[in-house]
């Protein structure tokens, strides 16, 4: 079930559009903001608020890469694997993180602390290699800095 607050926020978004289902992406973002990801149950709940079918909400949710349909850890690490970061050596950043955390692309640590995902180009190519953790950008990365960066996230 969605919380009162989530429903309220979705209804506020609906007001900005000519019809309710136009707020679908915003509704998904709101639910993900509070829950970290969007479950099957949430998909159904959102569909109800927007008066559209759950399968329609799901087709939209699965289309966009920043809507997570599977649970993610408390902190999501997005390592840029775009072409400029490749030239500048993102592979060594990935290999370090994968080894240190014992996970590969798409996986989460068992303690629920980190999920490791690739991302294509963060628009920060002049400071490659780049990565984001949650909303924070880190760039000009060298593997010697990575341990200190990870420590900021619990």
């Amino acid at each position: 079930m969605l919380t009162e607050l989530e429903i309220h926020e979705i209804k506020e978004e609906i007001k900005l559009y000519p019809y309710a289902h136009a707020a679908c992406i915003e509704a998904l973002k709101i639910v993900q903001h509070y829950r970290g990801w969007v479950s099957d149950e949430s998909v159904k709940d959102i569909a109800e608020v927007l008066s559209i079918s759950a399968s329609e909400v799901d087709s939209i949710a699965t289309f966009y890469s920043r809507i997570y349909r599977k649970p993610v850890a408390r902190n999501v690490i997005l390592v840029c694997d775009g072409m400029s970061c490749m030239v500048m050596g993102y592979q060594s950043v990935y290999e370090y993180l994968a080894k240190k955390l014992g996970i590969q692309w798409g996986e989460s640590t068992t303690d629920g602390r980190f999920t490791l995902l690739p991302i294509s180009c963060l628009g920060d190519c002049d400071h490659a290699p780049s990565m984001m953790i949650n909303n924070d950008l880190f760039h000009n990365l060298s593997i010697t800095q990575l341990e200190d960066i990870l420590e900021k996230y619990i």
Binding site: I25, F63, M86
Partner: protein, 427 residues
Amino acid sequence: MEKPLTGHIKAEGIPLNIREYEVAGGYTGVQTVLKKMQPMDVINLIKDAGLLGRGGAGFPTGLKWSFVPTGSDVPRPVYLLCNADEMEPGSFKDRFLLEGNPHQLIAGMICAAYAIQAEKAYIFLRWAYKKAETILRKAIAEAYAEGYLGKNILGSDFSLDIYVHTSAGRYICGEETALINSLEGKRAIPRAKPPFPTTSGLFGKPTVINNVETLCWISHIIENGADWFKNLGLNGEGGTKLYGVSGRVKKPGIYELPMGTVMREILEKHAGGMTDGYNLRAVIPGGASTEFVMEKQLDVKMDFVSLKAVGSRMGTATMTVLDDKTCPVAFLHNIERFFAQESCGWCTPCREGLPRVEKMLLAIEEGNGKEEYLESLKFHTTYCGPGNTFCAHAPGAMEPLQSGLEYFHDDFMRHINEKHCPWRSND
């Protein structure tokens, strides 16, 4: 040298607030437009200046605006959309403008909206641009507080609201009709044209979509005139251009230079040349969907016409340098993996073809390639090319591949004959 777009961007990184930008003359274009010009005058001025869209295709901006219907029976509201999705690998110029001088964009959008008589505007912002989002929201709030946005701007009968929409992530959102679908809360799948957005766009209303850098020009052109703009360029196309350089150069970054500046000059003089120990092999001139420019072609002028003449494209004009320590096959695989992942799945050549291209490149890179793959890859450059797909995504993906197959033929053959990547053994 004049740097109209970046002149007010401070090195320490905090953008001018609205008062400071007003003092610098940044909002005089808005005053002029609202007090002294008719919408048609603005369109004609931008046409005269010859401003070409900075989103990649170089479409004339004034001409695009003139397609918006006018008169009392026009469906309302009319929309202005600022394309700030910037997701093409290797592109980082719009981020620089958004973070560095948000009021320049807002002033430009007010003038552009007045020209097409739009009453609602959206900035479609890439989700990853968190810093830009904070800066933009603050700047928009300042503009409302000072009476530059909202009802009856500066006492005129023109009203405009600007909203920020953050994307939920997918490269195809940057394609203008997919962007419209995304703003409507749908999957970002391109729409058939015609109807063009200028007649039927967002929610079926007339809509103009322009790139960030394009819109940043508008109030400068109003303040300084069409001739001023034309004279900024070196080779017939007006204005300055934000050129970017990334890869193994000494000073990667954004450089605002006259349109038509020679590529070699940008790379060697401004970006400081190659990092010691690395040699340049080729350049992707403007994002992953543009064709390689080889070392022997570096004297090309960077403008829309000249780059086309050497078989490439300006795109976003943010260059990625391919150096001699990076395997070109692995580099191409990286590019095609991106395009394969980002296909929206609507048409078969793109949905089925791009993953096949990606797999063949991976096989070659890993030493499992066969010579006939090269034929098949070549076939795909036409199969996924212009005319066979619904939008420019797959044809764009084929541009670096087509030129890469030709320019790096020997490197491909070495992978196939030696059954491993020659660059990996160097490790």
